[in-house]
Subunit: 345 residues, 2 copies
Amino acid sequence: MSRAGSRVTMADVARRCGVSPMTVSYCYNQPDRVAPETLRRVREAAAELGYRGPDPTARSLRRRHTGAIGVVLGEHLAYAFEDPQARRFLAGVAEVCRERGSGLNLIPTTGKAGDVERVRSASVDGYIVWTTVDDDPVLDVVTGLGKPVAVHGGPAVPGAQVVSIDNRASARELAARVFAGARRPAVLSFPFGRDSRSRLALGPAAEDVAFPVTRERLLGIYDHCREAGVAVDRLPVAVAPRNDRAEAVATADRLFEEHLPDAVLAMSDQLAFAVLDAARQRGLRVPDDVALGGWDDDPEARREGLTTITQSLFDQGRACARIALGDRAAVEPVTWTTTVRTSTR
Amino acid sequence: MSRAGSRVTMADVARRCGVSPMTVSYCYNQPDRVAPETLRRVREAAAELGYRGPDPTARSLRRRHTGAIGVVLGEHLAYAFEDPQARRFLAGVAEVCRERGSGLNLIPTTGKAGDVERVRSASVDGYIVWTTVDDDPVLDVVTGLGKPVAVHGGPAVPGAQVVSIDNRASARELAARVFAGARRPAVLSFPFGRDSRSRLALGPAAEDVAFPVTRERLLGIYDHCREAGVAVDRLPVAVAPRNDRAEAVATADRLFEEHLPDAVLAMSDQLAFAVLDAARQRGLRVPDDVALGGWDDDPEARREGLTTITQSLFDQGRACARIALGDRAAVEPVTWTTTVRTSTR
DNA sequence: CTGAAAGCGCTTACAG
DNA sequence: CTGAAAGCGCTTACAG
């Protein structure tokens, strides 16, 4: 048996044992259709020649599908392996891929020029786009390819299916919990756009927020404020540079420094933990001195007694994968619930 | 501009504006070679027809490379997103892919029948195999394809380049540290083979260990024992079901229950933390009652004062990616050092 | 600066 | 049960 990694083709095998290339093809794709003796000879010839089976690229071209889906990550790719929620999501995607024997292609984008080309030139049958900004050029490219597209979180664009909880409704409900009885409520937000700089403002306009998930949550919080008679234009909203517990402590700390809030609604559990860390450093008690709420219901949230919006990023990953693989079956709406623990009054 | 996602080819564009298909091809691949006016007309026709550029699969077939590498993960794929060291490794791989504009294909295997086919039928130019067992059939497949192959950790096989620290030497050196002054040393090991069941034995034979990384570390520990006059056949070796802190606590606890060790060498920081958790539950002090050591130098290791083997899984991921992309440049040997902290005497 | 030709390696309905 | 033919969509030396 030769180990020649060099190009051995079906035609070579066919020639070697005196059959046509299509018979060799059938040996690999529908072995039942081939006479046992022929099958044996073909396999023997393949072994002698070191032929390892049909070339995947040629097969994909001919069959007009690749058996893989692409996941477009809008951040430095390492993020996908660091952020707990992105990980849960990808684990869900991966599970479906494994069930279906499908490939999983990670496509990082950076907001620079090469993105569009990298996305377009991935050999995949469908795309999943991880939550991005409204005007991300990748969305146009991906929806113009005639392949199924799932967008996690948002934005909603024609030609793509969004998989997301109702962020606005969940924010409104959570704000009611966290801000209950508070005199100085505040928000710790995700970045507004791709330029992820930390900032702090009073009731910033929701229209300025480029990430739909962030915008909807902000809008939901404002909804509550109006209902509860809280002045939105005096609501401090601090923006964390990234969804990272350690990094966000400084932002949370500045929030305490400047406004000493007695209730903080954070846009994720990670950010809520950052508030918790900052509060502890100051000797503040939760929820007596400061009430807290977050999103995601991370395993750590239970240990910390954090009130949070429970949702399954894993299941959402699964749903996105099914869409990207072309499942027409109606994907059920994404569910969420408010889980009340001891961090709120 | 049409949004027809349906098949529009280069030939269609060529026909539309009265040039040959190859001119259209040049417009995408070497636009400088084309007269500006022609370029303009071709682009216009492409826009009118909704042509989005060359089909990636056809291009790959023609060019004979795909611009992607495959990463073979020997565990349930979700593992890649959970295990801290696997994540660091993949982040390193991903960084190189991003630098080179290369794709990253995740290929999960499960030890079952479909594996070989899934690996073989991935359209990639090179492979990275995450540490696996000696007789993994995937190794044969992957090295027989005539494509570059990097194996992380091991085993070493012809046709593949191994990227790994010297596990045996590091184990020997670490054992000397951790077991110093101990009367009842013990080991908390990774699984020996793919059947990941928890067990506890005295000086089990290293030859029975199917994972080279695990075997080499065990051999290094035995090396030290022989030098230091510790009876290997009375050295308790507990096997954790998985490299998971929470899950391994039960195994560590059993080790304390049955042997009450005063020094435990764990094969990773995660497993060392499990020992730490079990020790704390029993009110044991580190290092006075029990000395501890691990591998990897996880960020948490510094906080916990854990003596450990420092290595960069991130850099090893980078090295593997370069190999899989065909870099012939000598990849430097992988470095490691023993970082001594307060968990040893 | 542009085109005619060949071919990357395979699969599929269709005959026989 | 097996084969002749067509073609998936593109790129590349080579002429001109």
